[in-house]
Symmetry: D2
Subunit: 290 residues, 4 copies
């Protein structure tokens, strides 16, 4: 039985995710580097803001930080309760998950790599998807904690598998984003009505989340709202490509996409949404996707 | 008012499409090169099998043939009724549509390029998508005939625009098919459960019709049912690339995809489904996607 | 026996090429759209500036114009002497060569597509390479005229073959230019001395004309002298890719290179040398190749 | 002053390289895992076959092994003479060079990464190219030993720079090999004479070592002599790509080439020469390059 749950890292995602926990668990501890954020969360949602050393005494410890490096540094600095389960929701590096899981196992602690999808709206509505790697019994014990925050809680394999699925998912997003930009620029160059074309494709075999959602809402609208930063997408495509190379696989389309997204990230204005990657392509084609 | 409708080309799609017409129109003429097919259709659905020269006297003439070349040859061989509208559902070449529309205009005939998506099941249920290029008034006059066979009847631009949207749609299908093969091979090489990964991605930003439908039903099932032949997908990606080059656009991902699909088509077993393109990638990776 | 030779098109290449002809032939006629150029050539080199209609009465007629389109328009406007051989040194389109050769054959005129390499210095020193497509007996009869201007006069196949070889040559130049830019940026990012690296590669298996000449003289020197315009290289890579598609071949590297060069051409400053294509890559990598 | 030189690893390259040393140095020690090879070398060339522990007491120690991993394992197993210089001619990993140089520095030993090019013929004639990374004073002290075996002895940067230049060189070789295969298949499909085309390109801007040497001697001759194994080229392109990723650079052409060479290596017959990578392309194009 889960008695206490902690949440470490109250960013845009974490802040909203942790808000659901008091409805399901008696003791909910929160910690954030900028501690006033934790105190604000406690006031707003009835959680308890505590020191880091205390947070890691909970039965279940969630973390949601920018990179695997941040998680490793933090874990190395604390003494975690024996028997706890650490659920890392960072979009991290599979190798780091394997390293941490092995290391914590020696201290009788389970580590699950459990990145999420669904964005801030999914965090707010507790409809996130959790893609989870690690020990299957730990997964089952930790299930209720994740189920409090998400709709689909899916075990996908051993340690690192969760991070791997997230990286490949984001790579496919990148492939779709760029290829739809190429395709729709071609259509526009030939005088085709883009909204009408989207309608057709969304009822056909070429559809994707990019054609259904990202393109109309972010690109054609010219809004490019900054909800997922382009450098983070570049990082994720890099993680995916590392998986490709570790497996010694050829992957022409993924490799090319990573190069293009990397170039887009290096040339984009600071603080660009991932969808703004299409602007590099627009600078080539001289066609604005609107 | 549409009094008579003809349907030319009773293949897997056309046979099912023409079956709906008698419910909506008094006179429904059918013609097929192998004429016994037309007679069978007449018996089965109450249409009237006629000679080609008579079929082209209808108010609305549908055609559904393998290539634009076939349509041009056929049109050049007949005298079409003045005032008729020709609706070509072939997955054809935009340039051919422009040429035919211009030529027929001189004879007071409208030509609409109106390729469809939805496969045989959509033809059977009259839920096809029509992506239509050509004169907008002709489109409006012909609308009821298409509405009898489809659910979304979308005007997308001038002559050729319909074919262009279809070609780009199929190119995006090809991009997704190949990139999902690369991504899932990578996941399998790292021991990830592919069905679980599909579940996650289908609830996330990387999803597409390929992850939702093609991959589970055709690839992971190892069925590769032959409903859309690989050489036809190769042809369509070629049409898409011609559009790219006519517009003098760079398109790295589409170009690379066309090369890969072309290679897959040249190396595939005869009579392969488009989804079997992944088998070429499997021969590289030595990983079977199952 | 060749009695008279004409040269049409006295640009940077043609002006220098035609200068050698009076040393070998009694009658040398020159014509240029801007006719004062022809008169200047006559004064300087002892050629005879004549009207176009008279130039095309020579036994051998050279042309050296920007595009195949220009050559076709010009040929359509004149009456050429029966029995003449037209040697077109333009970097042109294989299909146009086939069309012209067929058309002129009916008038008892031979057409050879005979693009050259060697740049202005080769034109000046009569050390050009001629890559020649067309009838082999016409080639043999015209040989002395080309031998007066070049060092290697090579028959490569039927009509169009000369243009094809030139297009593929320039495509390989483009591949080398871009890939060396990627490779040397990588070396610079790792602190390698680029001049020393060039020395090594030029003594090894990775060497090319780009590493031996283009990179040190044009790129690392930051000179980018405008001797071969970037849009012309983009045009040539386009011709090469059309050959690929006509043959229905997959060509991943050539296709990708064409996309990149096309993008570089669309984003470059006006009047850029082909070597300035690397500047687009530099804008991605933030590394200046110097 | 160099008094004694050792050579470790008497493979196809090392055996020939070590043969020159007795002409220049009084004491020349050789060692090989299969020790009879060392004894044979001593008999043939007047070197001295010794145990490994004794070989590493020389002033200069050359190594020439399959991979950096092999070199690291070997170095970890011995006690090297203080003040010695280790010259590693393996085509190795830059990171390994940095690690070894740092570690050996603590024992007052210099480590130079000094891969060579020139193949067995260059080893036999002492005309190799050495691309050397590491401390510049160590380079100068070790210069005479390398000069005994090569023609161009080039310092290219700090530790790892030599390996980096070799990896990029081999990547450029791979780019050229594959793109020439695409280009020449296109020419052959259009009926062009390939030998004639090679002549032209070798006198033009598209030339490379591949067009001058590899293609005529290995591919068009259909000989594919096994002098440099395809899996080793795949390994080297992988090292090059790791350099790209470490530097966080986009590199579309290099990335795509690595994927293609990796695929070719995975599908090739065992014991294939690197030039046999074109056979994968031939299986796509159905065109034999001969």
């Amino acid at each position: 039985m889960i008695q206490s749950v902690a949440f470490i890292g109250l960013g845009a995602m974490g802040y909203r995710m942790a808000a659901h926990l008091p409805k399901h668990f008696d003791t909910v501890l929160v910690w954030n580097r900028n501690f006033s954020k934790a105190e604000q969360h406690a006031t707003e949602y009835g959680t308890t803001a505590v020191e880091l050393s205390k947070a890691v005494q909970a039965d279940i410890i969630f973390s949601c930080l920018p990179t695997s490096q941040d998680v490793e540094t933090l874990i190395d600095s604390v003494e975690i309760k024996s028997g706890a389960i650490w659920i890392d929701c960072t979009s991290g590096v599979p190798e780091a998950a394997q390293r941490l899981a092995e290391k914590l196992k020696l201290q009788n602690i389970d580590f699950l790599d459990a990145p999420v999808s669904g964005q801030t709206i999914g965090a707010e509505n507790a409809t996130l998807t959790f893609m989870v790697g690690g020990d299957v019994r730990a997964f089952e014990r930790a299930y209720p904690a994740m189920a409090a925050l998400g709709k689909l809680i899916q075990h996908v394999g051993n340690s690192g598998a969760g991070f791997a699925v997230k990286a490949i998912n984001n790579m496919l997003l990148a492939v779709n984003l760029w290829s739809v930009a190429e395709g729709f620029s071609t259509l526009k160059a030939h005088g085709v009505n883009l909204d009408a074309a989207l309608n057709c494709i969304n009822a056909s075999s070429g559809k994707s989340l990019v054609t259904e959602n990202i393109f109309p809402q972010r690109v054609l609208s010219r809004e490019f709202p900054v909800t997922f930063a382009l450098p983070l997408l570049a990082k994720d495509t890099g993680i995916a490509l590392d998986l490709v190379h570790d497996a010694k696989l050829p992957a022409p389309i993924l490799s090319l996409t990573q190069s293009l997204i990397q170039a887009a990230s290096l040339t984009a204005e600071p603080n660009s949404d991932f969808s703004a990657a299409v602007k590099m392509y627009e600078s080539w084609s001289k066609i604005t996707l609107e």
